[in-house]
Amino acid sequence: DAGVTQSPTHLIKTRGQQVTLRCSPKSGHDTVSWYQQALGQGPQFIFQYYEEEERQRGNFPDRFSGHQFPNYSSELNVNALLLGDSALYLCASSLEGVRRSYEQYFGPGTRLTVT
């Protein structure tokens, strides 16, 4: 049973560039959430996708956008990168609907460095 996978593992970008991170949820899960974790901090909720729509959003600017595909995988896009966007980006999957589960399964993360 494959867990949550994320790609790439590490990424180095320059200020002003754009980046796309990818996530495949745990088998059987239909919901994907994205979190940003700065060094020494707890993860901060960016947004959540369910049924290919953004269902909830945290306090992040519109530079952060996402997408969910019919196979439940998801992408996180960040435009006009700032130095402050350097962080570990975590994807988590869970189950909604009548079998809603609050427990989230996290991927290993993508370490983004903006120079």
Binding site: S33, G42, F45, L90
Partner: protein, 112 residues
Amino acid sequence: SQQGEEDPQALSIQEGENATMNCSYKTSINNLQWYRQNSGRGLVHLILIRSNEREKHSGRLRVTLDTSKKSSSLLITASRAADTASYFCATAHNQAGTALIFGKGTTLSVSS
């Protein structure tokens, strides 16, 4: 913004000792969860306690929840070196669906 605050920020103990971490949060919750993170990698779910529960056990873990004080504690008994990690509490709120709000975490170091 962070919802909760863990206390202490860092904890160092010897193998075999118990470790207790506390978490406080600000607004009403649907449930509270504890996660472990090793070396800045992905988080692993440890235990979930619902707002109508007061105590829950899972192996060497014991979690308590006091909704009147908006606080929770995680007890790890008979700690092992492999328990060395960062521990986060996370809250889910009715108004926010299943999105989790994390605290800043407690870094636990268990030496042999």
